[in-house]
Symmetry: C2
Subunit: 158 residues, 2 copies
């Protein structure tokens, strides 16, 4: 619980500096990566991220609810997004008759081709705008900080 | 330029660990902060962020184009968002006759009240899910890493 009773503990200057840099830079980074994918491949970053998550899982499939937990969309927005991506032939929805926990999204062969085509642009952007800016100690710090956030927020895969 | 000719330099294990932790934790963090604002105050995180940015600027106003550079929305989405927030009385659009560079968004008194009301929830979430998880050295590392990203991406305020 993060109570709101009483005077809140506002961020001090150092904390505010860290938070502001992180939150603004993260937005700019996301926009930049999105712009590069859009301009070079006509692909939305949100669609790319869905393809990456699916391709990382066994059989190229994930439960919709699980996938929604990992990407930026809300469940209802993800459901529209997956419908759109299904029309484009990049994914398909699969219902497992013996599994009451519902519908899976599965990457298609065309989806895997599209991912192979676009991945070099994305990785070049991730390097240029983040990873290659980091000293080796920064890289470790970045991993440790956000692994702690994942643990804290109860990420299902950790 | 982030060229895509030739074999891309894929991320090695350490780089991938840092990138994956960061990108997934950032999404989860954003969703969690959004959920808390929505549940307790019926406010969208994107609206909160617009109010914060405006209130941080002289006169509580920013050029729409400048504001669009700092928040998650695209320019067209921001324009819809500001129209919605204007209807709710939280901001107003101001045209400056002598300034060819266009329209400003300005926070209203009701917007400032709403920000004061919701800020304790947001700061409690930022502490609980990020800042209070950090050691002092992490805090400095986080600031330095993302200030480097801001410099690199040509953030207008740095």
């Amino acid at each position: 619980m993060t109570g709101t009773a009483g005077e809140p503990r506002w961020l001090d200057d150092g904390e505010m500096r860290a938070w502001r840099a992180y939150v603004i830079a993260s937005e700019l980074l996301r926009k930049q990566l999105g712009r590069e994918l859009q301009e070079r491949h006509g692909m939305a970053l949100a669609d790319y991220e869905v393809l990456v998550r699916l391709s990382d899982h066994d059989g190229g499939r994930m439960r919709m609810a699980h996938l929604a937990g990992e990407v930026a969309s809300s469940k209802s927005r993800l459901s529209h997004q997956i419908a759109r991506m299904e029309t484009a032939g990049l994914v398909q929805r699969v219902e497992c008759g013996d599994d009451a926990r519902g519908v899976f999204a599965e990457i298609t062969e065309a989806g895997r081709d599209r991912l192979r085509e676009t991945a070099p642009t994305h990785v070049a952007g991730v390097r240029a705008h983040l990873i290659d800016l980091l000293k080796p100690t920064d890289q470790t710090a970045l991993a440790e900080i956000f692994e702690r956030v994942l643990d804290h927020l109860g990420h299902p895969e950790r």
